[in-house]
Amino acid sequence: MLRFLLNRIGLLIPTFVGVSIVSFAFIRLLPGDPILLLAGERGVSPERYAELEERFGFDRPLIVQYLDYLWGILHGDLGTSIVTKRPVLGEFLTLFPATLELSICAIGLAVLVGIPAGIFAAVRRGSLIDQSIMGTALVGYSMPIFWWGLLLIVLFSGVLQWTPVSGRISLLYYFPSVTGFMLIDSALSGEPGAFRSAVSHLILPTIVLATIPLAVIARQTRSAMLEVLSEDYVRTARAKGLPPWRVIGLHALRNALILVVTVIGLQVGVALAGAILTETIFSWPGVGKWMVDSVFKRDYPVVQGGLLLIAGIVMIVNLLVDLLYGLINPRIRHR
């Protein structure tokens, strides 16, 4: 198991270097000069341009800029935003808890609903219920997130007025941030109604962000279950006269989960990517919205630093999934 672990961690290093190169190169490959964009219609004189170029370090060869960036990463310094003039890491750490909270809720919802739905569809294969669940999953998978979010806002917040339109908590509540997680902070604040307000603000964004992962998990669970349910050992279990819940819940599900866990791990990446749109619609102050703004402004340090950090998190989640995979399936860790 230790060898397996070291092996997986060892693989992270070249991946991380690769990500650092891609994140550095990506934003520079896009046409657009941050200094010119900063100046806008007002423009900038050639002398001033040269001065700013030097100040931001853009006048140096790309390889030198990259090595400098890499050196900074090793020292925990991701640079300073060209636009806000604040350190990238500090901005990320302020905003990331909001994204993490939303992503955890969304993945939680996707798992809690997606797995039972997939099992149900597999057990009732071909029935009307199966077709309805899979049809809904397909719709969910193909749903344009932006449109879906607005639709929910107009219906639930506008017409029915059941949920707030956007934000993380009602503006009536104001308390210092302790953990950055609004659910925890609101509960700790002791202000009556704050926790309830935080929960009500989470409902719509969670549903929107969970939509695609939920559809994928439901479909994947269904197909994994179908595969397992046709295995000999399941037939044997049934023949032994075990009750159906034991056959499905214990024998079949545990094996089907091996595949599903991998899919859930991958969905964390999907959720973080999906957060970009969801956060924009719901004015959710997370890293997604921050990254989008930075790409438009060609804020090199923020885009490259933000990409690196998000990629790093996805890599760590995948590592954890690999380890979990090893725990569930002993054949893998002994390979």
């Binding site: 046409p31 657009g32 000069d33 941050p34 200094i35 010119l36 964009l37 900063l38 100046a39 806008g40 219609e41 007002r42 423009g43 004189s45 001033r48 700013l52 100040r55 931001f56 300073t80 060209i82 636009v83 806000t84 003039k85 604040r86 350190p87 901005e91 302020t94 905003l95 909001a98 607005l150 806002i153 107009v154 917040s157 506008g158 007025q161 707030p164 339109v165 956007s166 934000g167 993380r168 503006l171 104001y174 941030s177 924009t280 619609i281 719901f282 004015s283 102050p285 997370g286 919205k289 921050w290 703004d293 060609r298």
Partner: protein, 526 residues
Amino acid sequence: MLLATSILAFGLATGAQAKTLVYCLEGSPEGFDPALYTAGTTFDASSKPVYNRLVEFERGTTNVIPGLAESWETSDDGLTYTFKLRPGVKFHTTDYFTPTRDLNADDVIFSFDRQRVESDPYFSYVDGASWEYFDGMSMPDLIDSIEKVDDLTVAFHLKRPEAPFLANLAMDFASIMSKEYADQLAANGQMTDLNQKPLGTGPFQFVAYQPDAVIRYKAFDDYWGGRQAIDDLVFAITVDNAVRLQKLLAGECHIMPYPNPADVQALKDNPDINVMEQQGLNVGYLAYNAQMPPFDNPKVRKALNMTINKQAILDAVFQGAGQAAKNPIPPTMWSYNEDIVDDDYDLEAAKAMLEAEGVSDLKMKIWAMPVQRPYNPNARRMAEIMQADLAKIGVEAEIVSYEWGEYLEKAKDVKRDGAVLLGWTGDNGDPDNFLAVLLGCDGVGGSNRAQWCNEEFEKLIQDAKVTSNHAERENLYRQAQVVFKREAPWATIAHSVVFMPMRNGVKGYIMDPLGGHWFDGVDIEE
């Protein structure tokens, strides 16, 4: 009796409740030191609620009125401006700073020196600090020195006379900060807090900022202009305009800026919403390259201007949120010449004019901006409308576009091929900020995208720049507009109309022609 007691109790309870005004801000501020930035969103969140300037724009106009300076004098040679500061002006007392003295000349000098004196510790107090507006308005070349005459008197010595200087001092970058606060931050090694925890003399004091989510202010009890009627001011950051609209309708915010033009009619029909509107201080134009034949011929440019169907553009591109432009400055700006007659949309006459100038089989490029701007919400669509009309008189127009930064840069080239769609939003309400920046000879190869340098026009705007007599300046700018119209370096297309929807209970809001959003003097009646 019971009923009367209940009503009284309810009245007291609501009376004692803090009045909170919620504004759905369209984006996040980049920081809170307005001199470091150029975005209106940043100014709305920093300079406008928190700070004051020596002089201010009179709300709803571009006239300059006293601010922290209660009066000023200009020397006869126009080289010295002496400001008398208002006595007894307090700085905010917050949980991060308690001032020990009132505003004085040191604060004024500090506020400008940090932007101009490289040895000032605050000159580069944040990484990559650049004083964009201070530099952009040529203040380093203009200010020779700033002198403290006494505690409440400051003199600005200029290197040359420049009439728009006073209007520049009403701009956001000229906000007055507390030197005492800055010194304390420097002593504690917390200089960057000047950009994160602002402290000024303005109507509202900063309370907290949760990045990308909410900014909180409260009314400043000792504000020199009087305490505000609202107690708390909250900016809820809401980027998407459809979501802002829903928040306004749901009562989650009282005021929202920049609605989608398509939603404006429905908002006007809503009995709970009041929609204010005003012409924006901007102009959208098509700039020919006046140095490249045949566009160096004013008659050719004039003929092409006659092919532009402004009404079709207003309907299709501005969706009603615009007004046809005949002058290079907007109608809300002083010296706007309303006597100018716009070119008719007359394809036959245009064709005849081109033929008379010996121009046939003309091919040209129209540059369409890749981004949405207030003065041009859809440049591609605008270019297509122009292209179709030009085709009717036998002019073949090709539409080209580049990435925004590249577009702006390439458009500066004096050898540029094609006419460029672009525009401008005013900074300080002074006609010089449009006419000299966009059409002056100094701007050729730079911000003068028409590459047009006309001796008569140049003399008028240069004379106006150094004259401090307002009526005389006005007259010169009116004449300059006549020359502009005759020479036609641009086709002036439109000025946008800005809408500001708010809940009915909001009282006293005044729209700013310069595009800022101010909440002093605003009240809510629920």
